[in-house]
Each structure stands twice: as C-alpha cells, then as structure tokens.
C-alpha cells in the first residue's frame, strides 16, 4: 500500500515516467482481464488504453480504501463490460450448447498421451473458454489464472461473493464436461 501511495503521489506530481511505471505494474492484469472478456485483440488494445486513461483522469479521487491493483481492475472490468453492453452482447447468459464444436469433442484418449497433448489441450481449453459468456470467463481468469482471492474479485466486478463462487463452480463443471477426454477425467 505504501508503494501504491508513493507511485500515485509521483503520478499526481506529473513526475516523468511515473505513469508509465504504474501502467507497467498493472498492464498484465488489465490486458488479461480485458482480452478474456472481449476476445478481440484490436478491441483489447483500445479498451486497455481507455481504461488506463481513465485511471490517470481519476487518480486524484483514489482514496486507498483498496489496493491500487483492485481499483485499476475495477476500472478495466467496467470499461470492458460497457463495451460489451454497447455491442449488446450478453455478459452472463450461459449457452449450454456453445462450445460443442466437433473440434472440442476429442474422443480418442490416445491423443492425450501423444507428444503434443499439452498443446492440444491448451488449444481446446482456449476454445472452450472463448465459448463462455464474458463474465464467467473473467471470473475464471481472475481466480484461476491471476490467482486473486474471492473478496478482491468481488470488488473488481461488483458481484456478491456467493454469485462469484456459484459462477466459478458452474463454469468449472461446464469446462470439465466439455474437456473431459482431454483432461483424462477419471469420472
């Protein structure tokens, strides 16, 4: 938190390089979150830029009641969610049939043990993730890939903790069902 304060003070004092330092510290989380939500490289670039410009614009209003990372994540999430709403894309609605692409239905377990099994599993996992609605995709990214805690994710997304847990449970089940042959599901 002290580092956050020092960095924020430097940015507000227009110290050269301070804002670039702030962006470098948090661009990984922002890029990952936005990319997973919007699934488009060009949109991701524009939205990440918009998110950081908004961070710069509102930094004086940041009251340190949360970590700077959480606050920035919150802004990135809201920028991406607004973009998806403008495009009239559903944020949460699950489509149970989405992702039932024949390419995902790998039935031959020998493939899993083949030399490129990991690459193949990753490819199919990416495809299965892409077939999820944006919010569950964001939650899985924040929890399992970025390894943030549920309370922090709740602050970023504005969702209740119970809702997040239930989304995570449901999303894992969906992914597990779709990828069972690749993951070598014992069930």
């Amino acid at each position: 938190m002290t580092d956050d304060r020092t960095l924020v003070a430097a940015v507000l004092a227009h110290e050269r390089g301070a804002f670039a330092r702030l962006v470098e510290m948090h661009q990984g989380l922002v890029w990952h979150l936005v990319q997973r939500m919007v699934n488009d490289a060009e949109d991701t670039r524009e939205l990440c830029q918009e998110a950081f410009l908004r961070v710069h614009q509102r930094l004086a209003q940041f009251r340190f009641d949360a970590a700077l990372r959480t606050w920035i994540g919150q802004i990135a999430f809201s920028v991406a969610a607004r973009h998806l709403r403008r495009k009239r894309l559903p944020l949460v609605a699950y489509d149970e049939s989405a992702g039932d692409d024949p390419a995902l239905q790998v039935r031959d377990p020998v493939d899993v043990e083949a030399r490129h099994a990991d690459a193949q599993a990753t490819h199919h996992l990416e495809a299965a993730l892409a077939a999820l609605p944006p919010v569950p995709r964001a939650l899985v990214t924040l929890y399992h890939a970025e390894e943030l805690g549920i309370p922090e994710i709740a602050r970023i997304t504005g969702l209740p903790e119970g809702t997040i847990k239930s989304h995570l449970f449901r999303t894992r089940k969906l992914l597990r069902d779709r990828l069972a042959p690749l993951l070598g599901d014992p069930a």
Binding site: G28, H32, Q49, L53, L125, E147, L148, K165, R176, L179
Partner: protein
C-alpha cells in the same frame, strides 16, 4: 494470493485448474506503457493550450464590446444628446478595463507555463 482450496472442492477440477494456470497470459505490446505516458502528456499540453487561450479570447471580446459601444454612442455624445443612458460611458470604460486586465493575464499564462513537451 493462492485461491482457497475450499472454493474448489471437487477433486476432478484439479487437472482443469492446473491447465487453466498453464494458459498463456496475453501480453500488451512493447512500449505500451511509454506510449500511454506520452499520450497523457500530449493531452495535458493540449488542455494547457486551451486554458491559455481563454484570457486572450476574453481580452479580444471585451475590447470589441467596448469599441462597439463607443462607436455606437459617439454620434450622440458628440451632439451632446442624451440618446443613450448615462451609464454607457461607464460600461465602455469597464469593458476596456477588463480587456486591459485580460491581456496581461494571457501574457502571464504564456510566460509562466511549465516547460513544454517536445512534440
């Protein structure tokens, strides 16, 4: 922070979770942060330019108003006719004074500004 295992109780999730953690993290292009900082500085400089232009615009506006008022009222004053309310000369003087104040304010804004960013 490591996720709480209680939130992930199904043992069948273990392989899925491991696979999720192994996924590549999409990364921003090189120089993204530096480009953003440059953009922010350019925007701040543009905003400064706008703020600096305000006193000059006000000076010009007040001077024009004062001149228009004097030009309009001059024939009546010359003939000694009270065609205009007697406060017209006062208003003209006030406008000229505001113009005289706004001009130097613009000059001060220009000269006391922080060093400009190279464009």
């Amino acid at each position: 922070m490591t996720p709480d295992p209680d939130d992930c109780p199904d043992p069948r999730d273990a392989r899925l979770v491991a696979a999720l953690r192994r996924l590549d993290r999409p990364a921003p292009p090189a120089m993204f942060a530096q480009d953003l900082e440059r953009l922010v500085r350019l925007r701040a400089a543009a905003a400064d330019d706008g703020a600096r232009a305000v006193p000059l615009a006000l000076a010009i506006l007040f001077a024009l108003l004062a001149a228009a008022l004097v030009a309009f009222a001059w024939p009546a004053w010359r003939d000694g006719l009270p065609a205009l309310p007697s406060l017209a000369p006062g208003v003209a003087f006030a406008l000229a004074l505001l113009a005289a104040l706004a001009g130097p304010a613009h000059w001060r804004a220009l000269t006391s500004a922080s060093p400009r960013e190279p464009r």
